[in-house]
């Protein structure tokens, strides 16, 4: 194989061979899941694609254990299909579609609205098989739900954007699907009221599995009316639902939402959008929401109040993103999921603990061949691959 010939791995050994070869030649590799690369305009350097889409399928699934082991190129939709047969699910809903792979979801630590109740990939991942930058095949964690044996490389590789190793196999914790799963749409008053609405929603005697705030323009784009809305996803045993619906009345009149509202929200961003994530303490959500408004009517916002995270989607050329980035400075944390080149050119925000991070990078990818230019190797995270979108 030559340095610039794409590799399509069918087995872990193929990945190990490709990485070893690239390390020997010092030719960079770009790890690709389903190949739905999104051009962020980020200054990621050119590299030979190492495709994992053919490295897919179930390795082990014992429904009674509520754990699942799959190859990294398995799509979220394939996982959903196989687990649904047993009344179970992997409670991760990263933005994008279920065409994305589990490997990319873990590698980018991408989470969606369900993180409100179920956490992020770091909470779902139990163990990994990884090819590190020297071509070694290693295993981290295990296949059981509780495990403190050894240093926690599972957490280290989760969210490392393929810069420390290529994830080839993933074991995740599953959950039983609730009997009832319904989403309520609560129309809210103007933006001024959102702080109070978030407090009321988080304090209500209900246990929603997702609670998401959506601004008026995005609500309209999703077909949910003309005002800002709170989406409340209630789930559980049928016996528990009545009281939870009652408890939501404090928020105002609620209507049952369309069943595919979450898919619509996750896939809302038009191609080529800039997507920024702003975060602060949950009780600062109203302020973060304001920062995220920027000055452009073309931006959409939605938020997970319990996590203090506001996500902004904009299609304009970059002014909106730049304005928001300036406004965020010192007020909240800005993470760029996808950003135009102009924003990157504005200069990298310093990564926390850059020296530790650089030493970790050197320890696991000494030749510096894995996803060079990608977060968290460079800052800010260019996020060229949003869960493989």
């Amino acid at each position: 194989m030559t340095a610039d010939t794409a590799v399509r791995a069918r087995a872990t050994q193929d990945v190990a061979d490709a990485v070893k070869d690239a390390a020997a030649r010092r030719t960079p590799l770009r790890v690709v899941g389903r190949g739905h690369w999104l051009d962020a305009g980020a200054p990621a350097s050119p590299a030979t694609p190492l495709a994992l889409d053919a490295l897919s399928g179930i390795v082990a699934y014992t429904p009674g254990d509520l754990t699942l082991t799959v190859r990294a190129g398995t799509t979220l939709s394939d996982i959903a299909a196989v687990t649904a047969e047993h009344g179970q699910w992997l409670a991760l809903d990263p933005f994008g579609t279920d065409d994305g792979t589990i490997g990319a979801t873990i590698a980018t630590a991408s989470a969606g609205p369900l993180a409100h109740a179920f956490g992020t990939p770091r909470d779902a991942a139990l163990g990994l098989e990884v090819v590190t930058g020297d071509g070694s095949i290693i295993r981290t964690g295990g296949r059981v739900v509780k495990n403190v044996a050894g240093f926690d490389l599972t957490r280290l590789f989760t969210g490392s954007w393929g810069t420390l190793g290529v994830i080839t196999e993933v074991t995740v914790r599953l959950r039983a699907r609730p009997d009832v799963d319904e989403t309520w749409v609560v129309a809210l008053a103007e933006d001024d009221a959102i702080g109070a609405a978030c407090r009321a929603a988080l304090g209500a005697a209900a246990a929603p599995i997702a609670l998401e705030l959506v601004d008026a323009p995005l609500a309209a784009a999703l077909g949910l009316g003309k005002s800002p809305v709170m989406l409340v996803r209630l789930a559980g045993a049928a016996a528990a639902m009545h009281a939870q619906r009652d408890a939501l009345r404090v928020l105002g009149a609620a209507a049952v939402g369309p069943p595919d509202v979450w898919q619509r929200l996750r896939a809302a961003e038009p191609p080529g959008s800039t997507v920024l994530r702003l975060s602060q303490l949950p009780d600062r959500i109203a302020d973060t929401w304001q920062v995220a408004a920027g000055r452009s009517p073309s931006a959409w916002r939605h938020a997970t109040p319990s996590r203090g995270i506001v996500r902004v989607i904009t299609t304009d050329s970059g002014d909106t993103a730049a304005t928001i980035a300036r406004a965020a400075d010192g007020r909240c944390t800005l993470i760029a999921e996808r950003a135009p080149a102009a924003l990157w050119a504005a200069g990298p925000t310093p990564m926390p603990n850059a020296s530790l991070a650089a030493r970790i990078r050197a320890a696991f990818d000494p030749a510096g061949i894995l996803n060079p230019g990608l977060a968290p190797d460079s800052a800010p995270p260019p996020a060229t691959e949003q869960t493989d979108a």
Binding site: T62, P63, G64, D65, L66, D123, T132, S136, I137, I138, R139, T140, G142, R143, V144, V145, K146, N147, V148, A149, G150, F151, D152, L153, T154, R155, L156, G159, L164, R175, A176, R177, A207, G236, A237, A239, A240, H242, A243, Q244, R277, L281, P282, D283, G308, I309, C332, T333, M351, P352, N353, L356, A357, I360, A363, F364, A375, P376, A379, P380
Partner: protein, 476 residues
């Protein structure tokens, strides 16, 4: 620097009463909760303030002396013991709860804060700290972070990892870094996730920010008793597979029940039963009694003789006390105790418990089982007399076979107690040389000189680049 000179240098930081150097003073620090190991440190230093901790570590860094951070010493893996004459840094004088933010449900604590003291302080706001190891009345949150501790309620609420938001870490070289953060997401590698559970090998937590959880609206605690441990295991598997997620499912076998009932911790468990399950459901009031009935039915179908529901908080507390003090109750049986911490896939509970029973019979020893059944986290333990060489030998043989059986069933060697020294020999059972080497590489990033808790977690021969550390020999 000689040991005496180092003692002087440390006294200059912490005062004369903050350094222990006589053999009699060091004796309590030469063991942890596992009585089968005894390793005295060369010195122990007990700082009272954060600044003193920093100064102590910087002196040790300058002198290239190895150290072991230690909390309450309740660990069960010989992890807080000093190998090769390292210095123990006792952190249990730093007990402050620095702040509680009830709105964002966060607390900041010093590493020596006792686990239960945080839950007590948070109670005023209707909140609690979820990880609840059985030693929670004594163990420290710093120690919990080091071990990534669990506890009965982590079945539903998650382990320490899932509750720590940020840690300010004093690295072994004396540098201070903040990992994670409460104010929004943290970009970059998940260094916080790597630090939690690093068993004191990556540095010392100076302060820890944790999540608090709202008290559940309703709690129901049930006790089901069975005439065989397999029946109890079947009930556990049935509940887990049903999709109901209890806050806890704990099992105790017949010998444990009888030890508890004969002790001051008697909880009213039926003494003739071969297994009891302690099942706690919590959450919203609405629907909880429906789940109780479903669990009751599953237990009965699996063979439960009776399923009793605690009528009030007093009865609930009594049922839990028996479980949480079960290891203490074993003290009545024999002077020494070994305990394992393997985790197996939950569907394998009945057959692995059967295998453990067979192994015990073959080696003619009495294994007690008290464990987190809902997670598949076993704690087979054996009380024995360490002065009886033959018995001790049989106990250790049996323990090794039990560990192998758990690994063969697809399990892991430790679910919450940590590797420490005790499980070092088992690490190659579950990790290849390449995988162990990767763990060594991570350790070297945080502690290139391997002075922080040397000799623990990863067998040294597994580290390709390992060189005999000068730190480990500095004080010998």
């Amino acid at each position: 620097m000689t040991r005496d000179e180092l003692g002087q240098a440390l006294r200059a930081i912490v005062g004369p009463r903050g350094v222990l150097s006589r053999a009699s003073e060091l004796l309590p620090l030469s063991a942890d909760g596992l009585p089968t190991y005894r390793l005295p440190p060369s010195l122990a230093v007990l700082p009272s303030t954060r600044e003193q901790v920093i100064d102590v570590v910087r002196v040790l860094a300058r002198e290239r002396v190895a150290f072991v951070p230690r909390g309450a010493g309740t660990g069960l893996s010989a992890g807080a013991l000093a190998t090769d004459g390292a210095v123990i840094i006792g952190l249990n004088r730093l007990t402050r709860i620095i702040s509680i933010d009830p709105v964002n449900r966060l607390a900041v604590v010093e590493p020596g804060a006792v686990n239960v003291s945080l839950t007590r302080a948070a109670a005023a706001y209707g909140l609690f700290y979820a990880p609840d190891p059985s030693s929670q009345t004594a163990c420290t949150i710093g120690g919990n972070v080091a071990e990534n501790s669990g506890g009965p309620h982590c079945l539903k609420y998650g382990v320490t990892l899932n509750h720590v938001v940020a840690v300010t870490v004093l690295l072994p070289n004396g540098d201070i870094v903040t990992l994670g953060g409460a104010e929004g997401e943290t970009p970059g590698y998940d260094l916080l996730g790597a630090f939690v559970g690093s068993e004191g090998c990556f540095g010392i937590a100076l302060d820890i920010t944790v999540r608090l959880v709202p008290n559940p609206q309703a709690v129901r605690t049930m006790l089901a008793d069975f005439m065989s441990i397999e029946a109890g295991a079947r009930a556990t598997s049935a509940v887990i597979a049903s999709g109901i997620l209890p806050a806890a499912i704990e099992m105790m076998d017949g010998p444990t029940i009888r030890a508890v009932e004969a002790s001051i911790y008697a909880a009213g468990y039926p003494a003739d039963a071969e297994a009891v399950l302690l099942i706690e459901l919590d959450g919203l009031e609405a629907g909880i009694d429906d789940e109780v009935r479903r669990v009751q039915t599953m237990c009965t179908e699996a063979g439960a003789r009776t399923v009793r529901i605690a009528r009030d908080d007093t009865e609930r507390a009594r049922l839990w006390q028996g479980r949480k003090k079960a290891f203490g109750a074993m003290g009545r049986v024999a002077p020494a105790l070994v305990v394992q911490d393997a985790v197996i896939p939950r569907t394998r509970l009945p057959d692995v418990l059967h295998t453990i029973h067979e192994i015990a019979a073959r080696w003619n020893i009495q294994v007690c089982n008290v464990f987190h059944a809902g997670d598949g986290n076993l704690h087979p333990n054996i009380a024995f007399d360490p002065h009886d060489a033959d018995a001790t030998d049989r106990v250790h043989h049996a323990m090794r076979e039990i560990m192998r059986a758990c690994v063969d069933a697809g399990g892991t060697i430790t679910g919450e107690h940590g590797v420490g020294l005790d499980k070092l020999e088992y690490m190659p059972l579950i990790f290849s040389p390449e995988s162990l080497d990767a763990q060594c590489r991570l350790r070297s990033v945080f502690d290139p000189e391997r002075r922080a808790n040397p000799g623990k977690v990863v067998p040294v021969h597994a580290c390709r680049e390992w060189l005999a550390s000068p730190a480990a020999r500095a004080l010998t």
